[in-house]
């Protein structure tokens, strides 16, 4: 029954709904979750709390790590040698996979992808952005990294080697972006504000103190 004199289909909205489960793995997840709840292994609330806790993680921990590395050469050396034990010095827990930290320089620019799925250093960067998990980013980054970088507004000189790191196994990568010029004497807290998520994936450079982007 048209309520305002026209006949339109209210089933079509601009806000996409969550898709009804249809894949085998989705039914498997639902069945396993319901069984665990029925048997009292975990509660529905505990599952929801865990999902919420992961969704609440942000790249702030990563930025804190980078700012510390920019200001403390010994810390940076330890970080490059052993990511897991060194971030633990800051009270950051990174367990289950090996954290490998790489440094961007004038000669070498790293950018990270997982061509197989969505491997990402979630404990320190939070959940990966949707584009990181897209087939487009995953397929194109290993083949046309400079085109992908250009779409992020990131121009790396051709004299700088772009090295795409495909995290195909038990390693999670964190990129130390180049420290912007004109930041001598800035506090670790102020420096951390210049370290964006994308700069730690390698699709961007760090911010300059005035909010612009550092030259690569």
């Amino acid at each position: 029954m048209p309520h305002d004199g026209h006949d339109h289909d209210h089933a079509t909205t601009f806000q996409p709904d969550i898709k009804e489960p249809s894949e085998e793995w989705e039914f498997l997840e639902i069945a396993l979750r319901e069984l665990l709840i029925d048997k009292g292994v975990v509660s529905a609330r505990e599952i929801a709390d865990t999902v919420e806790a992961w969704e609440n993680k942000t790249p702030e921990a990563g930025a804190q790590i980078i700012a510390k590395a920019w200001t403390d050469a010994d810390f940076k050396s330890r970080l490059l040698a052993n990511g897991n034990s060194t971030v633990a010095e800051l009270g950051i827990v990174f367990e289950g996979t090996q954290l490998v930290v790489v440094e961007n320089t004038a000669d070498l620019h790293h950018m990270v992808v997982c061509t197989l799925c969505s491997c990402y250093p979630r404990p320190i960067l939070g959940m990966p952005p949707l584009w990181y998990k897209s087939k487009s980013y995953r397929a194109r980054t290993v083949r046309e990294p400079r085109a992908v970088l250009a779409e992020f507004g990131t121009d790396i000189p051709t004299s700088t080697e772009v090295r795409v790191l495909d995290s195909t196994a038990d390693i999670r990568y964190l990129v130390i972006p180049r420290r912007p010029d004109g930041t001598d004497g800035m506090s670790v807290e102020a420096l951390a504000a210049l370290v964006t998520r994308d700069s730690m994936i390698g699709t961007a450079t760090a911010l300059q103190p005035d909010g612009g982007r550092t030259a690569a």
Binding site: V142, R146, R163, D166, S167, T168
Partner: protein, 101 residues
């Protein structure tokens, strides 16, 4: 005990076994250079099926010249590279002389 060391030239097996495999298809059959040895990790192709993944496999970062992978059919600069983390059972020693540079 790891079989390869940084700087070693290695070839990725050109194999297409069924099951859960972590070696990217686009690198199979290609030759690259070992950058680092990460240690040994449970075999993911066994872990995926509920097994223990033992014995563990050595895992290496192997870097490839973009040109060796795409032969010009991509958007990269001369000297750009792609590196992947590959388990030892996928790698064979390759002649050092293949290095282009």
């Amino acid at each position: 005990m790891s079989r390869f060391a940084p700087g070693d030239r290695v070839s990725v097996a050109k194999a297409f076994p069924p099951g859960h495999v972590r070696t990217p298809t686009f690198l199979r059959g290609l030759t690259g250079t070992v950058v680092r040895h990460f240690g040994a990790f449970p075999n993911p192709s066994l872990l995926a099926y509920g097994m223990s993944g033992q014995p563990p496999l050595n895992l290496y970062q192997v870097v490839f010249d973009m040109d060796d992978v795409w032969d010009g059919d991509g958007e990269y600069a001369a000297g750009d590279t792609v590196a992947a983390d590959i388990y030892e059972n996928w790698l064979e020693a390759a002649p050092q002389s293949n290095r282009k540079d």
